[in-house]
């Protein structure tokens, strides 16, 4: 069932055709490359080859491969996490009451600030092995990808069409069958789209997490990010150019080979009952459908997977006590009374746990940091807030009119969309060096001129969303507006602005969240021995990381989380709710 729609059984020869040859070379090549790359992760950390890097162009493809593999591993982990987490949150009322807000917080945690803790943890798990570092990097990417996927899946699971749920119950599908027949397919379009977004965001973190300095130790995992870090150290602009090129090719290949086919395929699961216009298949999917042997193999795989999905597995029955604690539905009449008592106990347990965690954290931080410093950190956070706000405002002023204008021109939109998607996926941190060189060269103030780096990668979300919304303005409304001869400011205020508002808010939320995260790498920049620092919370966290000062990292990260969550609650949420209420068609 996870395979492209195939025509009803055709009785044709099963001999390979020319398309098979092309596709087969492809598959074999990929397998060989991954095998080669995987061997590198199992080396001990002090083996000469394991972490030594060169700036030789010939080594770059290998580094790119390692980066790609990290990305894939993180995506697989995110997918597993998504299935487990979303299912538990959606099926168990009590687990949902804790997990959903938790997800909201996790989304706001600056991953880069967090990296130092995870490295310490994974290095402890696999002492002296590259694998520990690999896992830490993969975990960092995972934390940048998993939350929104889990959230998308959770939302799908809570909005399952009631009639289909009843049908699966009336026809007595087991929970396992329902999962594969209804829940996963229904979630598929949203999930795939969020995988694309996650992947775009992930490149930024994969690059940032490969070269890590923690206290006196510096580790470099073979990868494009480390390559750039080395190039920065050695002031080699040519190597940086090469890395940018390699990254561009990797993203292009990912997009063409994986995402376009995946998105096109997931269209099959879109929950609509009318036949829409079908876009042509992306070439990879078309190639796969044209091959003979490969398609057979894929079909066999699909049949096998479908058979697993249709197994009459009953999910292992949890012991009654655990079911009760999780608030899963139970049979029985005294459900309500017991449910209330259980809710209370569950709530108390969660509150106690949260209180304990807070106390431990406060205790840990207070041992090293004075109250005065807390004030300073809050001030630094305000500086960063100012930067984020100014940059998002600036990006909005630039991209709102551009996006609205582009969206009204379908031919241009078609050209612009893939380019912007590419720009959004491109890890902006690879582009920092030219900026840094410029700032150093012209002697500009880092306090101001480092700020644009924060939105270098995330501004595209604003543009992207605005174009999509502007293009989606219903034709009859556009026609009504022109027959009423609305123009200029009135047209903006009454027609275009309400039409793009919800999408703009979504884009701005993504952009500002990304900007906070980027602050950690953008407020401190280095070019060889020259170091540029802008005062802000990001720089505070970055410097504490470099010094291996865990209490200060914890404090910085905690303050950042609080800021992001508060801004989300006070500004973005109400704005999004307003936009959804007032300005949807």
């Amino acid at each position: 069932m996870f395979l492209p729609a195939s025509a009803p059984a055709r009785r044709t020869r099963r001999l390979p055709n020319q398309w098979d040859l092309a596709a087969l070379l492809f598959v074999l090549g990929a397998l060989a490359a991954f095998g080669h790359g995987a061997a590198g992760t199992l080396a001990p950390i002090d083996a000469p080859e394991a972490t030594r890097l060169t700036l030789a162009a010939a080594d770059l493809p290998y580094y790119a491969l390692r980066t790609v593999m990290r990305m894939l591993a993180a995506m697989a982990a995110s997918l597993l996490f998504t299935f487990a987490f979303a299912t538990l949150a959606a099926k168990s009322r009590r687990a949902g009451a804790v997990l959903v807000p938790l997800l909201d917080i996790l989304q706001s945690v600056p991953i880069l600030g967090f990296l130092s803790f995870t490295i310490a943890f994974f290095m402890g798990l696999f002492p002296g092995q590259v694998l520990g570092l690999e896992l830490a990097a993969i975990f960092a990417i995972f934390t940048s990808q998993a939350w929104n996927m889990a959230f998308a899946m959770y939302q799908s699971l809570t909005t399952l069409p009631q009639d289909l749920v009843e049908a699966t119950r009336a026809y007595r599908l087991t929970a396992w069958q329902r999962f594969w027949r209804l829940e996963v397919p229904f979630a598929m379009p949203g999930l795939v789209w969020n995988m694309v977004l996650s992947m775009s965001g992930g490149w930024f973190f994969v690059v940032a997490s490969e070269a890590i300095t923690l206290g006196d130790a510096t580790w470099r995992l073979p990868g494009i990010g480390s390559y750039v870090a080395l190039a920065l150290e050695q002031r080699d602009l040519g190597a940086i150019g090469l890395a940018v090129l390699a990254m561009g090719l990797v993203i292009l290949a990912y997009d063409q080979l994986l995402f376009r086919p995946l998105v096109a395929w997931s269209g099959k699961f879109r929950f609509e009952t009318t036949a829409g216009a079908n876009a042509p298949d992306p070439w990879v999917l078309a190639l796969l459908r044209r091959t003979r042997v490969l398609r057979r193999a894929a079909e066999a795989l699909g049949t096998g997977l479908a058979a697993i999905g249709s197994l009459r597995l009953r999910l292992p029955a949890l012991p009654l006590g655990l079911r009760f604690r999780l608030g899963l539905p139970r049979q029985g009449r005294s459900r309500i009374a017991m449910g209330r008592a259980g809710d209370l106990a569950f709530g108390l347990a969660v509150a106690a746990l949260a209180g304990l965690a807070f106390w431990r954290l406060a205790d840990y931080v207070a041992a090293a940091v004075s109250w005065g410093e807390l004030g300073e950190v809050l001030l630094l956070a305000l500086f960063t807030l100012l930067r984020v706000a100014a940059m998002i405002g600036l990006a909005s002023i630039v991209w709102l009119p551009v996006g609205a204008w582009l969206g009204r021109r379908p031919a241009l939109t078609r050209l612009a969309q893939p380019v912007i998607q590419f720009l959004a996926a491109f890890p902006a941190n690879l582009l920092f060096p030219p900026f840094v060189v410029g700032i150093v060269h012209f002697g500009l103030s880092p306090e101001i001129w480092l700020s644009p780096l924060m939105v270098l990668g995330t501004q595209w979300y604003i543009l992207f969303n605005v174009i999509a919304a502007s293009a989606a303005l219903p034709g009859d409304l556009a026609e009504a507006a022109s027959t009423l001869r609305l123009s200029g400011w009135l047209w903006w205020r009454r027609v275009m602005w309400p039409a793009i508002l919800p999408a703009y808010v979504t884009g701005a939320i993504t952009a500002s969240g990304g900007a906070w995260n980027a602050a950690i790498v953008a407020e401190v920049a280095a070019w060889g021995d020259t170091k540029l620092v802008a005062s802000g919370l990001g720089a505070y966290i970055a410097q504490a990381t470099e010094a291996g000062d865990f209490p200060r990292i914890a404090l910085g990260v905690a303050v950042m989380v609080v800021f992001v969550v508060v801004i989300n609650r006070l500004l973005w949420r109400p704005l999004a709710a307003f936009a959804a209420r007032r300005a949807t068609f």
Partner: protein, 435 residues
């Protein structure tokens, strides 16, 4: 024991627990015995609990009280031998026709080869041969419901449940599908031993069913039971057919003997909490004009009116009831006739109409009168709607309370009796300068 008895429902009651007030009863003391070879229809207005009963029989809902026995054993969850057809078809858009039909067999663990064979049989029986590989979105509504039927029949159920199976289809398609289904049933080719269907179409029920249970609302209960002994295929123009339809219209519009005040619902002393249907004032005006004009000249037979206006019972009855509530028309024994106030309304122009409507609203709808009075008393002429919503919810379900509020908002706006600010969820008085 009678071996023909498939299903027995005894003293079935369904109530939803509510925190603030008493239980909301949607179904009260329902009894039903179903034998092999019968087609039984559950007929009633929306909100009369007929779909709830069907879901209880399907094992999708557990009744608060009472007993449901399927082939002699109590039902716990969806039972073997019962299959269901949904109003919305409930087809999986990502599965082909064949895969949709196989779903029930797959759940039973039927081996693949047999699954395919039986699905093909069911698809052919229901007239969809050749469409096995199609996806639901490629099919018309009528064909989709055929897939729904094939999916239910492929498991060879003893009891086939149908939840308003034709109401999402256009008139012609629905008729074809009904005829095909009854033909298969009469010829004994339908692999099901009994049919239980929910409908709000009176003619549909008389056309198909051997026995009809007529439901009353609030709380939902079985008010009448009648047998239809006409042989299949039945003819809508047969006078006997028309008599039965007339009878049922009479049952549905008869001034209901005030339902015995349910023990759990607190009596509403103020008369504020009468459930209202949000019918559009435009439709009300249209119906009054139609009623005043020839050929009706002030009095119309509901079945005739329904077919002339292409309205279903579910649309026509709430409309008639709203007019009756406002004393613009009167509803009795399957007839609707115009009252004096209604006649004046039809003869008036736009502005006087609004005044007449406002007058009727203030005199006959306590809720509207109370809202207006409260607004007059407030210094800023604003009242949160929440206040009335809470009061309504003490006496009815949140859905009914919401519908009632929507009705009174629409009517109040038309009458210019008061306004409503959606953003703030408040009632308010508009500027009253012009008087």
């Amino acid at each position: 024991m009678d071996h023909d008895i498939l299903l027995e429902v005894r003293g079935c009651r369904q109530a939803y627990h509510k925190d603030s007030a008493a239980d909301l009863v949607v179904l009260d003391d329902v009894n039903l015995t179903l034998r092999a070879g019968e087609i039984v229809g559950l007929l009633g207005r929306s909100g009369s609990g007929k779909s709830t009963l069907l879901r209880i029989v399907a094992g999708l809902l557990v009744p608060t009280q009472g007993e449901v026995r399927w082939r002699g054993a109590p039902i716990a969850g969806p039972a073997e031998g019962i299959a269901m057809v949904f109003q919305s078809f409930a087809l999986f858009p990502w599965l082909t026709v064949q895969e949709n039909v196989e779903l029930g067999l797959e759940a039973q663990g039927v081996p693949r080869a047999e699954r395919e064979r039986r699905a093909e049989e069911a698809i052919a029986l229901i007239g969809l041969g050749g469409f096995e590989g199609a996806y639901p979105k490629e099919l018309s509504g009528g064909m989709r419901q055929r897939v729904g039927l094939a999916r239910a029949l492929v498991v060879h159920p003893d009891l086939l449940l149908m939840d308003e199976p034709f109401s999402a289809l256009d008139v012609l398609t629905a008729e074809t599908l009904r005829t095909d289904l009854i033909d298969l049933w009469s010829e004994g080719r339908l692999p099901a031993r009994a049919l239980l269907m929910v409908t709000h179409g009176i003619e549909e029920a008389v056309l198909m069913c051997d026995r009809i249970l007529v439901f009353a609302s609030n709380p939902g209960r079985v008010e009448h039971e009648l047998r239809v002994t006409l042989p299949h295929p039945r003819n809508r123009h047969d006078p006997a057919f028309g008599h039965i339809v007339d009878d049922i219209y009479g049952m549905l519009t008869r001034r209901a003997p005030a339902p015995a005040p349910s023990r759990t619902i607190p009596a509403d002393e103020t008369g504020l909490a009468t459930p209202l249907h949000p019918v559009s004032t435009n439709l009300m005006a249209g119906l009054l004009e139609t009623l005043a004009a020839p050929p009706y000249r002030g009095r119309a037979d509901l079945p005739a009116l329904a077919s002339a206006l292409q309205l279903e019972v579910d649309d026509l009855l709430p409309l008639g009831e709203a007019l009756a509530l406002l004393r613009l028309a009167e509803l009795a024994e399957g007839d609707l006739h115009l009252l004096e106030a209604g006649r004046s309304f039809v003869d008036a122009d736009t502005e006087p109409r609004k005044l007449l409507f406002a007058e009727a609203l203030r005199s006959h709808v306590r809720l509207a009168a109370t809202i207006r009075r409260t607004l007059d008393e407030r210094w800023n002429h604003r009242v949160p709607a929440l206040r009335f919503r809470d009061e309504l919810e003490d006496h009815m379900s949140p859905d009914y309370a919401e519908a009632t509020l929507r009705a009174v908002i629409g009517w109040g706006r038309y009458a210019e009796l008061f306004g409503y600010d959606e953003e703030a969820d408040q009632f308010m008085l508009e500027d009253q300068e012009e008087g």
